[in-house]
């Protein structure tokens, strides 16, 4: 009965009502990579291979290049990347920034058995390297393939991903570095609730400029970072098959058994073992007593 009740409460969790988010407008992005540069410096990430004003990076990963033609990916050296997409219906290229989407019910957090991840009331999904054991389950769990592993320091495990500039900015109510750096205001920072309203308003006022969908409103149970696009989301590199239910809904039943297995089973079987061997122990004890008595 108790477990049923808690399960229901988890499903009804209304998220943090005043949590912040970012609305990314693919229409507005011009691919200047200012966000990538700002992120690199804010987070103290390693020097890039090419300067941030080198636009030849947009050709990496496409057409026969690496990454299966999906463009560049976030990795241990970069928390955010901008990719370029040529779509037939628009006469100029489109650019799309990607980073951690900061899910409302993060799969990384759900999958982590040492609780290295935290969803903060401000909206960020942050990570604590001190407790991480480097199992990399989060990398498999994430529906957006965001967390990256720092293979160069495998003995002090470290997952690398965007943390919404939590410790340096978000905590103090400031926007993340990428948002502040964007010249085009392609990213709108605000309360997630207001961003949905802004997104719907933009779609309503410019039906010719946007498809009628806010990516991230429902995907993976809702994300703090959401997107508007002038073309179908699949055309600009989004996974349109991400389920609308949070990942936790698929694994809750299984995960609720894990603590029981881990806590109750050892005690239970240790008990069985002791009971089964009780007679032997008693015998031995009696023998010793008898020997001592003689």
């Amino acid at each position: 009965m108790l477990s049923l009740k808690t399960a229901k409460a988890a499903g009804d969790f209304d998220h943090y009502p005043d949590s912040m988010g970012v609305l990314v407008d693919v229409n507005r992005c011009v691919g200047c990579r200012s966000c990538e540069a700002a992120c690199n410096k804010e987070q103290g990430l390693p020097e890039p291979e090419k300067p941030f004003n080198d636009y030849s990076v947009f050709d990496e990963g496409h057409e026969g290049g690496g990454h299966g033609g999906v463009g560049r990916r976030t990795d241990e050296t970069r928390y955010t990347v901008v990719n370029k997409y040529e779509v037939p219906e628009i006469d100029h290229p489109l650019y799309r920034k990607s980073q951690c989407n900061h899910c409302l019910e993060p799969a990384c957090l759900t999958s982590c058995f040492v609780n290295a991840y935290t969803k903060t009331p401000e909206g960020a999904v942050i990570y604590n390297p001190d407790v991480c054991v480097g199992c990399r389950t989060c990398m498999i769990a994430c529906p957006f393939y965001v967390p990256a592993f720092k293979y160069s320091s495998a003995f002090s495990p470290r997952v690398m991903k965007c943390i919404f500039c939590y410790d340096t900015r978000l905590k103090e109510g400031r926007p993340p570095a990428c948002v502040e750096a964007c010249p085009q205001e392609a990213m709108t920072f605000g309360k997630r609730f207001d961003l949905l309203e802004i997104g719907r308003k933009r779609i309503r006022q410019h039906p010719d400029k946007y498809v009628n969908h806010i990516y991230g409103e429902k995907e993976a149970g809702g994300t703090a970072w959401m997107y508007l696009s002038p073309v179908e989301f699949g055309e600009v590199g989004f996974d349109v098959h991400v389920p609308h239910e949070p990942v936790i809904n698929f694994v809750r039943d299984f995960l609720s058994i894990v603590p029981m297995v881990l806590v109750i089973w050892p005690a239970l079987f240790a008990g069985f073992h002791l009971l089964a061997n009780r007679k032997d122990a008693q015998h031995n004890h009696d023998d010793i007593d008898r020997e001592g008595g003689e």
């Binding site: 540069a37 690199n40 020097e47 090419k50 941030f52 109510g173 964007c182």
Partner: protein, 168 residues
């Protein structure tokens, strides 16, 4: 580079003053418009931009940039719904309406006002670029970052460019 930073600051302030002055005009006439406007908004990373205002008013309508504040009817259908009989505004300077710190908590708090319609008003940097780049794309003007902005040393460090290009 404290000296350089100081210069950048001074340019920024100068730009602010020019923008303010641009906002002081009352009877708004093309001839009253400033010839150039120095914009030092990105002075941290780039040298200030000398915006040739005269050249631009030859090419576009005042309302293309100044919306309804110069007393002409704007072409944007969404604005006309309310601003159908525009009066000259008290100010026409961009920075008088478009906030510098668009995503700062103080400005975001003002958006909670339920009577506010212009919730989506871009910040100053966004307003400049959305308007300038948008028109340049349509009209074939320069659209590259460094076509308008000359990167300074802080910018080169930020972008790992110029002397800070990765050696590989």
């Amino acid at each position: 580079m404290p000296l350089r930073k100081k210069w950048c600051m001074m340019w920024g302030i100068a730009a602010g003053v020019v923008l303010l002055w641009a906002g002081q005009g009352r009877a708004i006439d093309r001839s009253d418009a400033p010839e150039t406007v120095t914009i030092g908004l990105l002075a941290e990373l780039y040298d200030p931009v000398e915006f040739n205002h005269t050249a631009h008013i030859e090419m576009v309508e005042c309302s293309d940039c100044h919306h309804h504040t110069v007393g002409t009817v704007t072409k944007r259908w969404n604005c006309i719904k309310c601003h159908d009989n525009p009066q000259e505004g008290d100010t026409v300077g961009c920075s008088d309406c478009h906030p510098l710190d668009r995503f700062g908590s103080r400005y975001l708090a003002t958006l909670d006002n339920p009577e506010l319609y212009h919730k989506e008003k871009p910040g100053l940097k966004g307003a400049f670029h959305l308007n300038c780049v948008g028109c340049h794309q349509e009209q074939g003007g320069p659209t590259g970052c460094e076509d308008c902005h000359t990167m300074n040393e802080t910018g080169e460090k930020r972008f790992n460019a110029g002397p800070y290009t990765p050696a590989r």
